[in-house]
């Protein structure tokens, strides 16, 4: 371990076959509906070869690259949470009649996933969700088993997106921990290969079945250079100094009203966010009333029902919902789970229809604080 090897495109293809052979369901980036999403992969032919993405506030467009790179883009609308924390699942069923019933717990779906192309920000996002679902007081068995079974083929970003700010959040672009294998894609003149860092015994066992070479020093240096250049290309930045105190002390700041005039309360930001974990439950029965089921579904703090209490909603205004989302993400998350809830992936900026960008909003709140200090 701790040694780097190189594989070529065919090697990556072999890796997918090997993982398939080991019983993993291999998932990774692929093009669908003009976006790069995470779905089942059969071979490297399913990867978005020669594609990149243009991202900005409310903007996402696929573009052709001049090369044949396989990971030459940033993150899209999907995140790995859809596999570890499924958007919709049955929790249990019950059958009964005449005031008596029996509950049948759901059989554990312990699908073994191999994730191809996990970025550093996403590795951090998964570690953050771990704290919610397995490292706190209660454990979600489905998340736990899927998480423990998962195989991670991470990718060091070779290009930052227009809304990326992982450098500000200390979450990238270099993958540091938690991976089985970490790839850096290199396109050097006519040569197209991957420098592979092995991060676990299972990763090593896997690589034994894949044609590879020991990495040369210059290849490793080149890989390091790629990540360093990406770090210099961040589309956004965020000053996180005392950000918790800043938000806690500005819960009544007029900027929230300003944002609320633009926010559609559409919940896109929470759906694309790789750390947002909120869910709701739905009870359903069949037509005879003798069979009942309970389903869990992703939910969002932007919906009206989210805070319903007898008599009405606690957060009826868009302002209060946006404030809750952002204050949770950047401030109260720290109190709850010991880290920020934001990994700087930029999805919430890209997929916001009116292009609300909190890397622009936070400085507005911060600047007005500085001004108050000056005038007082």
């Amino acid at each position: 371990m701790n040694k780097s090897v190189t594989i070529d495109r065919e090697g990556l293809n072999q890796l997918i076959s090997v993982l398939n052979g080991m019983g993993f369901q291999v998932v990774g980036p692929t093009v669908r509906d003009e976006a790069i999403v995470y779905e089942k992969l059969e071979s490297i032919k399913d990867l978005p070869e020669g594609f990149t993405d243009e991202q900005d506030g409310g903007v996402y467009r696929l573009k052709k690259r001049k090369d044949k790179s396989l990971f030459g883009y940033a993150v899209g609308p999907h995140s790995w949470k859809k596999f570890l924390h499924p958007p919709e699942r049955r929790l249990w069923q019950a059958d009964g009649e005449g005031g008596d019933f029996e509950i049948k717990p759901e059989k554990l779906d312990a699908t073994k996933f191999a994730f191809i192309g996990v970025r550093s920000c996403e590795m951090h996002a998964i570690a953050i969700q771990d704290k919610v679902f397995i490292n706190d007081k209660f454990v979600d068995p489905v998340y736990q088993v899927r998480r423990e079974n998962a195989f991670f083929v991470a990718v060091n970003c070779g290009q930052a997106g227009g809304t990326c700010f992982c450098v500000s959040m200390n979450t990238g672009p270099k993958v540091e921990a938690g991976f089985d294998l970490a790839l850096t894609e290199i396109l050097d003149n006519d040569r197209h290969y991957f420098v592979v860092e092995v991060g676990s015994e299972q990763g090593e066992a896997c690589m034994e079945q894949v044609t590879h070479k020991l990495a040369q020093n210059e290849e490793v240096t080149l890989a390091e250079k790629v990540v360093k250049e990406t770090a210099g290309q961040m589309g956004r930045t965020l000053d996180t100094t005392h950000i918790k105190e800043l938000l806690y002390e500005n819960l009544e700041h007029p900027r929230w009203d300003d944002i609320a005039e633009r926010c559609l309360s559409c919940a896109n930001c929470t759906m694309v966010c790789p750390t947002c974990f909120c869910s709701t439950v739905e009870d359903v029965t069949d037509i005879t009333g003798t069979h009942a089921e309970r389903w869990q579904k992703w939910d969002s703090c932007f919906t009206m029902d989210f805070t319903y209490l007898h008599g009405g909603e606690v957060r009826a205004s868009t302002k209060s919902r946006y404030r809750q989302w952002l204050t949770h993400k950047l401030a109260s998350w720290q109190d709850q789970f010991g880290s920020s809830g934001c990994v700087g992936c930029g999805r919430c900026i890209t997929w916001c229809p009116p292009a609300i960008d909190f890397t622009e909003e936070i400085p507005k709140i911060r600047d007005s604080e500085t001004q108050t200090l000056k005038t007082s």
Partner: protein, 283 residues
């Protein structure tokens, strides 16, 4: 990273079957269900102030605080106001029928920590339900506490709960029980007005008092300010918070109140720890 593991426990989202051993009518819209586990009748412990998620077959699940029994009594009592679809379905259930139950969840009233103090209990409406087991625990060791005061406000006289027990609490245990109603007809001879007006009439040593409050947020706001006016220290005041709750185990995110998850950090909070967020509109 990949590894092998087999989870052994039942998901915390799956309810256990409980049998209703008694249904008690408490008032025109409020009833109590005393339940015991169908499978393991001995495995019930809870701390005063904790709550359970109760499931009515095919309808849904609601958080309900545990209102009894007295120490040594059987089962867990839940006092429920029939205000919605699920509580309405629970209201229709009869003795020996089944409900689903998850719990107990949440924080508890500080009983042990309050030994040597005077105790002021303030309840608004159904808020008396989670305070009753606290009273039972206090009275069980009556000599360990100083004055015990119960200040209880409801909208109308017919909303009063547990009144049969008040005489025992007064007579046998020397509890100062004071009640008030928001509006009353001619037959009512007691106090009229909001519950915080009773604070000034109660006899307790403010600096040496622990206050436990449960009721609507607006009632608790006034109660806290009245107690502070009498100089009860903020770190000796305990309040309860309520929010929408879907899971009770910190997964669903619905019950967040500032940095707290009401399900696992609450529902009972020491006032000074949440005062930064208490009373902020739409928080």
């Amino acid at each position: 990273m990949a590894g092998k593991m087999e989870p052994l426990m039942q998901s915390p989202m799956t309810p256990w079957p409980y049998r209703i051993q008694k249904v008690i009518r408490e008032s025109h819209d409020t009833f109590s269900l005393n339940v015991v586990p169908k499978n393991s009748p001995d495995s019930m412990t809870f701390n005063p102030g904790q709550f359970n998620m109760l499931y009515a077959f095919g309808v849904g699940e609601v958080p309900i605080s545990i209102s009894g029994p007295q120490p040594g009594g059987k089962g867990m009592i839940h006092t429920i106001r029939d205000v919605g679809i699920v509580t309405g379905a629970l209201h229709k259930l009869k003795k020996d029928q089944t409900i689903g139950l998850r719990g107990p969840f949440g924080s508890a009233w500080p009983i042990e920590e309050s030994k040597g103090y005077d105790i002021v209990i303030m309840a608004g409406g159904i808020g008396l339900a989670p305070l009753r087991p606290a009273l039972y625990a206090l009275l069980d060791q009556r000599d360990k506490f100083g004055e015990i005061v119960l200040l209880y406000g409801v909208r109308k006289p017919e909303d009063l709960l547990f009144t049969k027990e008040f005489e025992t609490w007064r007579g046998k245990y020397g509890v100062q029980v004071k009640m008030t109603v928001d509006t009353a007809d001619r037959e009512w001879r007691g106090n009229v007005g909001v519950v915080n007006t009773l604070v000034q009439r109660a006899n307790f040593d403010p600096m040496n008092t622990v206050a436990m409050i449960c009721g609507p947020e607006v009632m608790m706001r006034f109660a806290v300010s009245e107690l502070k006016r009498r100089e009860v220290p903020e770190d000796q005041i305990f309040i309860t918070m309520e929010r929408n709750m879907k899971c009770a185990v910190g997964f669903c995110g619905h019950c967040q109140f500032g940095p707290a998850f009401i399900c696992k950090d609450g529902p009972i909070f020491r006032y000074d720890k949440v005062k930064q967020f208490f009373g902020i509109r739409e928080i």
